[in-house]
Amino acid sequence: MSFRTAWRKSVNAVMLSLTALCALLAVSLLLFILGYLVWYGGKSLSWAFFTQLPKPVGETGGGMANAIVGSGKLLLLAALVGVPIGFMAGVYLAEFGGPTVAFFIRYTTDLLNGVPSIVMGIFAFTIVVLPMKHFSALAGGLALGVMMIPIAVRSTEEFLRNVPQTLREGAMALGASKWKAVATVVVPAAARGILTGIILDLARVAGETAPLLFTAFGNRFWSSGWNQPTASLPVMIYTYAISPYDDWHRQAWAAGLVLLALVLLTNIGARYLLPKKAHVARG
């Protein structure tokens, strides 16, 4: 073997192992994050965490029950805003859209997707909080809902397009009008994928903090209805993490674990529901 070949062979071995190392590093990051949160968060999880309200400063104990429910409420509101618009727009783009209008809608959706989350918070503040003259779950839900739209649109459109044309033609051959074919044949065929896409979208939006800072604001008590400020898991994590109190730090870890578990379990679950090789749109 000449020197040159030996050199090339060793470069080959070295570089390929380096790439393996890179992949290993990336995976170990995930395992590290998970492990750390499970360790620290697990230590501080307790029944009180899930059922009690936050206690005043200086008193240990208390929990984040209102934040958990608050996050749920915000997600429900977000879904009410994001899902109909996203789904219908996706249907439009996949089934009814003509070239020019569809292009503009796709372009605008992309634009909306690029809005930084903090700017979305500003937007919700100016059009909901200021006119209503108070912070509210509604404002927070709106901000999150608008953030959901682009991915809901893209995922709906993709799964609808994946439905084979033969299904549509078969339905129409049997006498169904176009909208009947779409509603009773195409959409149900793509339903699983669309639903999974929406659930993943919700999971993504569940972890958003910035848009909630000046919309849902925060609440030390239960918030009733849509019209009051509400606590949420991500904002609580942030507030407690930057505080100096050790007890609050522990609760922040616990909350982090709960949030991460929810997000990851949703993601993992979604993959099992999806047919293999289907690609779900991400951000």
Binding site: V69, L130, W222, S223, P244
Partner: protein
């Protein structure tokens, strides 16, 4: 029924359950033991300076009156003023009294209600140093101007003979947002340092020459705790609750005074009888041998006209409670009680709220 069908149905069923669960839960407060007929939620925001006692007050008041929930978010005095101006909260809280320009900016006249007295202390994290340090005005101004950069600078070691100060970089910590505590600190620095007054000035938010920004008194305390070599200015109770050392500051009479109930009360002694009608005063660098030089009243900002009559009544009731029973909770948290002359004046001011 094949596996896929089962999966699909489970999915739909769990989503349905989730939605139903959320709808029932969001209708009310499932964990509240008392079936309160008409719960009222008052929203307030502002200063982090008094947050420890406010959070105790609002929690205790809720135990006494389960139908009234006062939700206070400590976002900083600047935030309290801004949100009150925007009308998004029912009351604000600020350590900084509104200046004349700000008063003019408000559409509805706003009343200042002093609640307690507190002290702003220089707290530090110097490896190996657990003693109380003595700080002169020049030292503090120099540190925050970025002119004094190491802990073993003569301006600091001078008044601290006997303490082994290392040659460590000073990490200055200040507030990242609009803060009444910042106002009190910069107000003091303006009075004792011409340099500071001309180059930086006094406000809730200033153009800091150096330093890291922490969010709230909480954030500054957190940063000082985590950062070796750090110095930050925080309300007294934050330093105490978190077991970090804080220094003595030299007052106008030349003595190094530690911030505690007696020295804080002494700072307000001079002003108790001559308190202006609108309660806007500054008590930093006050004369008096035993006075701690960096003290302040902290205020609840309440509009004179409140649209909702039940809300107005609730706020007035709270203010009455705060000025009587509430004051008893101040001292255990090292906030000084209001002088009785001030309380008397405030009780009269409550009637101005409609």
């Amino acid at each position: 029924m094949n596996k896929r069908r089962v999966l699909d149905l489970t999915l739909v069923a769990s989503i349905g359950l989730l939605i139903m669960g959320l709808m029932t839960v969001s209708g009310g407060a499932p964990a509240s033991p008392v079936a309160a007929p008409d719960k009222m939620l008052l929203n307030g925001a502002g200063a982090t300076f008094p947050y420890p006692i406010y959070s105790k007050w609002f929690s205790d008041y809720n135990h006494l009156h389960p139908d009234i929930e006062i939700n206070y978010q400590s976002i900083g005095s600047g935030g309290g003023i801004a949100q009150l101006k925007a009308g998004t909260v029912d009351f604000g809280a600020s350590d900084m009294p509104l200046n004349d320009k700000m008063v003019g900016d408000f559409k509805v006249k706003v009343l200042h209600f002093p609640t307690v007295l507190g002290a702003v202390v220089p707290t530090y994290n110097i490896p190996g140093v657990t003693q109380e340090l003595n700080f002169t005005a020049d030292a503090l101004a120099g540190i925050y101007l970025g002119k004094i950069t190491k802990w073993n600078d003569p301006a600091i070691t001078g008044p601290n003979k006997g303490v082994n100060l290392p040659a460590q970089d000073i990490v200055v910590v200040h507030r990242s947002e609009g803060s009444g505590t910042t106002f009190v600190w910069t107000d003091y620095l303006c009075k004792v340092s011409k340099d500071w007054e001309t180059s930086v000035g006094r406000n809730a938010s200033v153009n800091w020459p150096v330093g890291l920004g922490g969010k709230g008194n909480e954030g500054v305390t957190g940063m000082v705790k985590q950062q070796p070599g750090a110095i930050g200015y925080v309300e007294l109770i934050y330093a105490i609750q978190n077991n970090i050392p804080y220094g003595r500051v030299r007052n106008s009479s030349g003595s190094f005074v530690k911030a505690e109930l007696s020295s804080v009360t002494a700072a307000a002694a001079g002003v108790a009888k001559s308190m202006p009608e609108d309660f806007r005063v500054s008590i930093t660098d006050s004369p008096g041998k035993a006075a701690y030089p960096v003290c302040s009243f902290t205020y609840l900002l309440v509009p004179t006209k409140i649209q909702d009559a039940t809300k107005a009544k609730a706020i007035k009731d709270f203010l009455h409670w705060m000025l009587s029973d509430g004051q008893k909770e101040a001292e255990p948290l090292t906030y000084a009680r209001l002088p009785k002359e001030v309380v008397a004046k405030e009780l009269k001011q409550i009637s101005m709220i409609e």
